[in-house]
């Protein structure tokens, strides 16, 4: 038992958890904004993939990582706008549109990547983000190196959590988002434009999903591969449920998932007997399904989730 504790409190392990949690935190917050406004975005998996691709490409061609991040965010917003056009403006099925956006974005990511980089035996890579130690704070024992000696994008994710909570609970726009997600009819009567608010929330969500993709291809892997996202988008959707559509809880859910993921990575590395490493890769997904089963009974989704709004229909 003590060996386990030793591993958990290793600085490297804590730092790994934070790193794994970062793209999930961005993605989960993005999905949360969308769902709080009443729009399920199953396009998240494809949006993250396409953003990872455009971010990597922009960074690789321009030599500027931050230009890459900008490209990824703009891609996320654009694809968010596409999903919003179909589900919010046209009021089409959120389930099927989301799958459509994912299929379309993934296909486009593969197609453009192959077009730009061709088929190379060694996939091209970039020099990704380097850690940016924060003076003084990074000197704190254990916590310092784990939390305050990270990539700039990690700090952005940490700051994004209170910011998301502030925007959602303390600003007029956040109130509008919650209203159109809970009771669009009432919001409409109160003079809130349901369509505009939902559109904005889905686009903001897309921007955050873009940051998640940017982190994967420019800080975590420093390359674009077809498996760069590999289910993280779907996990984020589950984490929103697990986090009961709240920014703090959702971020906590991302941290918990990252803990399980870091643990299975450690188990892989320890090479337990002859067990193939794929066995451990299943664990975070099984954990997520079980966690959803435990949480879903009491989870209360935004009332108007999945329901399109048309003013003239009663």
């Amino acid at each position: 038992m003590s060996a386990v504790f030793e591993q958990i409190f290793q600085v490297g392990f804590l730092a790994a958890i934070i790193r794994i949690a970062t793209p999930l935190a961005f993605a989960t917050l993005g999905e949360m904004f969308s769902e709080r406004a009443g729009v399920l975005n199953l396009g998240i998996e494809g949006i993250m993939l396409l953003s990872a691709m455009t971010g990597f490409t922009a960074a690789s061609l321009s030599g500027s990582l931050w230009l890459g991040v900008l490209a990824a965010v703009l891609t996320g917003m654009l694809m968010g706008a596409l999903h919003a056009l179909f589900t919010v403006v046209l009021g089409l099925s959120q389930h099927v549109c989301g799958i459509g956006v994912t299929l379309f974005s993934s296909g486009l990511a593969y197609f453009l990547y192959r077009l730009i980089f061709g088929q190379q035996s060694v996939p091209p890579s970039i020099k990704g983000f380097e850690t940016l130690p924060i003076p003084v704070l990074s000197g704190i024992p254990v916590l310092g190196p784990a939390v305050f000696n990270q990539f700039a994008l990690v700090y952005m994710a940490i700051l994004a959590i209170p910011l998301a909570a502030f925007v959602l609970y303390r600003t007029p726009w956040g109130l509008s988002v919650r209203m159109v997600g809970e009771n669009p009819r009432a919001a409409d009567s109160a003079g809130v434009s349901v369509i505009a608010t939902r559109f904005q929330a889905v686009v903001l969500g897309g921007a955050l999903m873009g940051l998640a993709g940017a982190f994967l291809s420019m800080a975590q892997f420093n390359a674009f591969t077809f498996g760069v996202v590999s289910g993280r988008g779907w996990v984020a959707i589950a984490l929103v449920v697990f986090g009961r559509w709240d920014p703090w809880r959702s971020a906590g859910a991302a941290l918990l998932f990252a803990f399980v993921d870091a643990l299975q990575l450690r188990m892989q590395a320890s090479g337990l007997g002859h067990i193939p490493y794929e066995t451990f890769l299943m664990l975070p997904f099984i954990f997520t399904i079980v966690a959803m089963a435990v949480m879903s009974r009491n989870a209360v989704a935004p009332s108007a989730l999945l329901k399109p709004f048309r003013r003239e229909e009663r």
């Binding site: 296909g107 197609f111 590999s230 289910g231 193939p276 997904f285 959803m292």
Partner: protein, 351 residues
């Protein structure tokens, strides 16, 4: 000014016109990508068509590809009819492939082996689909998310199997041992890969149509999908219907995997399905969830996939164009479906 007006009923020719409209729009939109790749649009689509439907051999190749998508398309169509959002056809297909590979490797008379492979594959697919259905009925877990996450679980389980116990100790390749020769599905046309499973897929579609349209279970599935509350009020045990739907849907997706093992690959490898489970969603939507429409829709997507590879070799346009076409076709079809619910009316200035 134009406005949308709710349509009371849709004419029958819409069932044909809407998918064709969506496919036409898709091909026009995707021609931009062909031009971006620096190839001739008409030439590229021409190569795609010739390579997939141009001669009898090409047609058999396209049909071999269509078979798994007929099964996954039916799986999705049945599930979506009941509004059971089974996005897990991919995992159910893989489970069916693994189970049938286990059975096919046991020495026994050929016909018996093929029958048992089908039974095992269908059962495995159904068992996987039972998980999201049970989670939804008992724990109110969203079926979309659980079935999606389950795809990853099944995929890694398959990988663990072929990297572990099944690994080819001689070559070191991550592939399963082959099934018995006697269990290979018979080829129907000499010199082609057209196997028995393709015919089974073509026969299954009208059977599922009959089940949905003419049987009590089909009626319950449709009513549950259209209005769950009304179904409950009408004495239908909605939970039981959802479970039955999941079993049927999963079994169909599992059969897709059986066909790939018995008729095409004769073993299991990591890329046994290039996303046939997800393509099933596109197929089902193009077919407007009609089991009979699943057949032409699957053949269309199969032709795109087969043709895209030839087009890539001939013109250098990345074969991933077929993935973009699938996604675009799904979105275009959804937009086209607006015409079933609404009509566009010109509204005078007086209003």
């Amino acid at each position: 000014m134009f406005r949308l007006e709710v349509r009371a009923s849709t004419p029958a020719w819409f069932n044909l016109a809407l998918p064709l409209l969506a496919i036409g729009a898709t091909l026009v939109l995707c021609s931009g990508l062909i031009a971006l790749a620096g190839a001739g649009v008409l030439e590229s689509y021409g190569v795609m068509f010739t390579a997939s439907l141009g001669d009898s051999y090409a047609i058999t190749e396209t049909m071999v590809r269509a078979a798994p998508m007929i099964f996954t398309g039916l799986a999705v169509a049945v599930a979506f009819r009941a509004k059971f959002w089974n996005i897990g056809a991919e995992g159910q297909l893989l489970a069916g492939a693994v189970a049938s590979c286990f059975v096919g490797a046991i020495p026994m008379p050929g016909p018996l082996a093929m029958f048992l492979m089908a039974v095992a594959g269908a059962a495995a697919g159904a068992a996987v689909a039972l998980v999201p259905a049970t989670l939804r009925v008992k724990f109110k877990v969203d079926d979309v998310v659980s079935s999606l996450l389950l795809n990853s679980v099944i995929y890694y389980a398959l990988m663990a199997l072929i990297e572990g116990p099944w690994k080819d100790t001689f070559s070191g390749y991550p592939i399963s041992p082959p099934i018995e020769d006697s269990a290979n599905f018979p080829v129907l046309l000499e010199g082609t890969r057209l196997h028995l499973g393709v015919v089974v897929a073509l026969i299954t579609a009208p059977l599922i149509w009959f089940l949905i349209v003419r049987t009590t279970l089909g009626f319950r599935i449709r009513v549950t999908g259209e209005n769950q509350e009304a179904a409950r009020y009408g004495g239908i045990h909605v939970e039981r219907v959802l479970i039955s739907t999941a079993l049927l849907s999963g079994a169909l997706a599992g059969l897709a995997g059986v066909g790939e093992v018995g008729g095409v690959h004769f073993q299991v490898m990591s890329d046994i399905s290039p996303g046939y489970g997800y393509s099933g969603i596109v197929v089902a939507m193009l077919a407007r969830l009609n089991p009979l429409g699943v057949v032409p829709a699957a053949i269309f997507l199969a032709a795109v996939m087969t043709g895209a590879e030839a087009m890539s070799r001939a013109t250098g346009v990345p074969a991933f164009l077929s993935d973009v076409i699938q996604g675009t076709a799904l979105l275009a079809m959804l937009v086209a479906l607006l015409f079933t619910a609404y009509r566009i009316r010109r509204v005078g200035a007086a209003r």
